[in-house]
Symmetry: C2
C-alpha cells in the first residue's frame, strides 16, 4: 500500500512559486480551473490508458511546505521583495480544491482532460508540475504496456525494466503502470510491496558464472525453488544447457532464453524438452524485446510461452514522453466562471470546464467521444470524468491496482481493432461540442489585443 | 543537501533475492566483483559524462530490510522453502563492500567500468538494480545536457523538464544531472534545495490568461520582481506583446518566446527592443528545443540569449536509455580472485577487476583510453577509477555539484572536437590491454561446456 506522507511542495517549477507570490501580493485570489490533457498521441499510438491518479491524489492530500522549505525560498534571490505575509501563507499551505478525473484504466485520447483541478489559483498553480509528471508518466507506460501485452497474444508479459528506468522511483511507478496496462507482474519487489502487484524472478547469468559449473548452479537453484525455478540457459551455450538440464534429470518450471535467434532456438528447445518428456517446462524469453519484436517472433513461429520486457516498457523507449499540458480554462472571481484560452497555439485549445462523453455502437464497442461544456449532457453516452476530491479530501479510497487492470482490460475489449493496431492505428474520433466552439469564438473576439503590430505601428 | 535515510532493499529485482536465498542456503559466500558499464553509446553520442555516484553511495550506506520488508518476502510464494536463518540474515543486512568508481563529471566511453563493487556475493547482487538505474539515468542526462549546452555556444541553458520527466523524483535527479552536464540551473525547486543548484523561473501563460489583460499582468509581475522578471510574450501575439511592453514603459530583464518561428521573431523582437532602448532586455527562448533545434536556430541567425530546454533534456528523448550492465567479473573464495565471463555475448566482455587509463596527446588533449587488468599500470596515463568506499563506508564526502560541473567542463575541454560533434561524432579510441585479452582466452578455454549440441549428441 502507498505510504501517505508529507510531500514537499518544492516538487514544482520555480515559476509556480514566483507567480504564487505575485498573486498573493496583488491580492489576486480567483478560483481557477486547470485541465490536464495530452495534446497529441505519439507516433504508432492509437489510444492511451489513464494511470497515476492515486499518486496524484496522494500528493494533493499531503502537499506541504516545511519550515526548511520556506527558509530556502526566503533566501532565493527572486524573492527579496516578497512580503513576510506570503511566507506565513506558505506555512499553512495545503490543497483545498476540487478534482475531477478519469478513473485509472480508462481509455483516453488526445485533447481529452484526464483531470481537472478547481482551486484557489495559487494552489492550482503550485501542484501543476507534480500532477503532470505523475499522470503523464504512468499513462505513457500503461499505454505502452497494453501494446506489448496485445502483441503477446495471451502469453504472460512480466515487466523487467527497473534497472533501465529513469531512477529507482521511476522503476517502481513504471511497474505499477505496466501492471495496469496488462502485465502479469513485475520484477520490482518494492512495487510488489507498495501496490500488491505480483512479482516474478528468474536467475541471472552471474549466479551461473559464480558457481562456474552450470549444472551445479541449476541443481542448487531448482532444489530450493522446485516450483518456481526459471533456469537461464544462455550463459555459455543455450542448446548445450538444455542438454545439461535433460541429462541431469532436472524438471524446471521454465527455461529462459536471453540471446540469439529466439525463433530458431525456441523451436529447437521446445523439441528437445518435449523429446525428454519435459512438456510442462515452459519457455520464457527476454532480451531487448518490445511489441514489434514480440509480434515478429510469434508471426515467425517462435515457441515462447511468456516474455520478460524491460527497457522498452519501463522507458516507453520509442515514445519516452507524452505532450501533457495543464491549461487554465477558467477563472471565477465569485461571479461565475469566465473562460480562458491561449491564442498562440498552432491548434486551438478550448476554454471552460469540460465533460467527456463516450459513445457506443450497437455492438457495445466504442464509437467516439465528445468533449463538451460542463453544462451539457449527452444522456446516451457515458461521462468519463468523476469528482474524486472535494475541499482537498478524496471522496473514496482509490481502487486496488487489480481492479484498475481489470477496468483497462474491459475498456480495451470495447475499442475497435483499427485503433488497437501496433502500426498505423486508426485515429479514434474525438470531437468538441458546438457549445465549446461557440465559447472559443467568443473569447477569441474578446481577447484579441488592440495594440498594433510593429509594422503597422 | 541530500537527506541520507534508510533506503529499502526492496528497490531491487526479485531474482536478486531468490539468488541471495539460494547462495545463503547453499552456504555459498565468495567475495564477488561486479563492474557496471555501458555496452555501447547511443546513436549520435560521442561521449558520456559519469553522474549519479553520490546517490549510489548514499544508497549503499543506507540500504536495509525493514521488518515489514521481511514479512513481505516471507509471504512470497517463491520463498516457501527458504529457511528462517535467511530472513534473520536479512534483518541485519547492510552493505560491507568496497567500491571503486569514476568521479562524477568524468568523461566515459563504451565498455569502461563506471563503478566496481567488491563484496560478499549476496550484497553485491542485491544492490545491482538500484546502482544501474541511478548511474545510467544520471549519466544519460548529464551527457545529453553537455550536448545541448555545446549547441548553445556559451548562452545559458536552463533545465525546464520536470513536468515531462518520468515521475517527480526523476525530475529532481534529471535537474542534478543536467547541471553537471553544464546547464546554468533548473526550474526544479526541490533540486535547488537538495543539491544547491541555482533555480530559475519565468512566467506561465496561465498568469497572463488569469488576469486577462496582458499589460496589467506584465506590470504586476515586473513590479514584484524588478530584477528577475522574464515576461512571456506569446500568450496572444508575440510582437503585439512587445509593443505593449514598450508602450507601457516596462523594462523586463528578459522576454520569453515560446512558439512561432523563433529565428524571425527573435530578430524582430531584438530590433524593436533596441529601437526602444531596451538593449539590456535579453531574449529567452523555449518550446520543444533540443541540441539540434538550438544549433539550427543559431546557425540561421536567431537573436537568442538563453534557452529553456525541457522534455528533450529531462528524458534524453532521442536516446532515453543507456545499455548499462552490471557484470560479474570475478569471484574469490579466499584463495584469490578467479575471473568470470559470460560467453554468450555477441561481443566479448572481459573478466577480472579492471583499471581504466586515459592518455593525453602532447597538447594535453585526450588521445584514448586503455582498459587494463587491475595488476597493470600505465605510469604516463591517468587512472580513472578511485576507491570511494571501503567496508561499506565512504572514504570522503561527495564533491559539491558545482565542483562536479567544473570537472565535467574541464574534461570536455580536453576532448578533441571530432568526439564532441552533435552528429557523426568520431568514435573515441578505447582498447583493452593484451593482459585482459589473455585472461579472456584462458577462461574461454576453461569454461567451454563439454556437453555436445543436440545435433551431435
Amino acid at each position: 500500500m502507498p505510504a501517505p506522507s508529507r510531500h514537499s511542495a518544492l516538487l514544482t517549477d520555480l515559476y509556480e512559486l514566483t507567480m504564487a507570490a505575485a498573486y498573493f501580493e496583488d491580492n489576486f485570489h480567483p478560483t481557477a480551473s486547470f485541465e490536464l490533457f495530452v495534446r497529441s498521441l505519439p507516433p504508432q499510438r492509437g489510444f492511451l490508458l489513464a494511470a497515476g491518479l492515486d499518486q496524484a491524489l496522494d500528493f494533493l492530500e499531503n502537499v506541504r511546505f516545511s519550515a526548511e522549505d520556506i527558509v530556502v525560498l526566503r533566501r532565493h534571490p527572486a524573492f527579496t521583495r516578497v512580503s513576510a505575509a506570503f511566507f506565513d501563507y506558505l506555512k499553512d499551505f495545503h490543497f483545498t480544491g476540487e478534482v475531477w478525473a478519469m478513473p485509472e484504466g480508462t481509455l483516453a485520447f488526445e485533447e481529452e482532460p484526464l483531470l481537472r483541478v478547481t482551486a484557489p489559483i495559487i494552489e492550482a498553480q503550485i501542484v501543476e508540475t507534480f500532477l503532470l509528471s505523475t499522470l503523464t508518466f504512468q499513462t505513457m507506460i500503461a499505454s505502452k504496456a497494453a501494446r506489448v501485452v496485445a502483441a503477446a497474444q495471451g502469453r504472460a508479459v512480466v515487466e523487467f525494466g527497473s534497472r533501465r528506468a529513469h531512477g529507482p522511483e521511476a522503476g517502481v511507478l513504471a511497474a505499477r503502470a505496466a501492471y495496469i496496462g496488462g502485465c502479469t507482474g513485475t520484477s520490482n519487489v518494492e512495487a510488489g510491496q507498495r501496490f500488491g502487484i505480483p512479482t516474478f524472478g528468474t536467475l541471472a547469468h552471474s549466479f551461473i558464472m559464480a558457481y562456474g559449473d552450470e549444472e551445479e548452479s541449476f541443481r542448487r537453484f531448482e532444489s530450493l525453488f522446485p516450483d518456481h525455478a526459471v533456469l537461464l540457459v544462455d550463459t555459455y551455450d543455450t542448446l548445450a544447457a538444455i542438454e545439461t538440464i535433460i541429462h541431469a534429470g532436472l524438471r524446471p518450471r521454465s527455461v529462459r532464453l536471453d540471446s540469439g535467434d529466439l525463433v530458431e532456438l525456441s523451436r529447437q528447445v521446445r523439441r528437445r524438452l518435449d523429446q525428454a518428456n519435459l512438456t510442462d517446462t515452459r519457455i520464457f524469453a527476454s532480451g531487448e524485446l518490445d511489441e514489434f519484436v514480440i509480434a515478429d517472433l510469434l508471426a515467425r513461429g517462435a515457441q515462447i510461452d511468456a516474455f520478460g520486457v524491460g527497457t522498452a516498457l519501463a522507458t516507453s523507449k520509442d515514445a519516452p514522453s507524452l505532450s501533457g499540458v495543464y491549461k487554465l480554462v477558467d477563472v471565477d472571481f465569485g461571479e461565475g466562471p469566465s473562460g480562458r484560452v491561449k491564442l498562440s497555439e498552432e491548434k486551438a485549445t478550448y476554454p471552460c470546464r469540460k465533460r467527456v462523453f463516450r459513445m457506443r455502437q450497437s455492438d457495445g464497442n466504442y464509437s467516439g467521444d465528445i468533449v463538451a461544456h460542463e453544462s451539457e449532457n449527452y444522456p446516451d453516452a457515458e461521462p468519463l470524468l468523476n469528482c474524486v476530491m472535494r475541499q482537498g479530501s478524496r471522496l473514496a479510497p482509490s481502487p486496488r491496482v487489480q481492479e484498475i487492470q481489470e477496468r483497462a482490460r474491459l475498456e480495451l475489449s470495447h475499442l475497435p481493432e483499427p485503433h488497437r493496431r501496433l502500426q498505423g492505428a486508426a485515429r479514434y474520433p474525438v470531437r468538441f461540442s458546438s457549445e465549446l466552439e461557440r465559447r472559443l469564438e467568443e473569447i477569441r473576439t474578446r481577447f484579441v489585443q488592440p495594440v498594433g503590430k510593429p509594422d503597422s505601428g
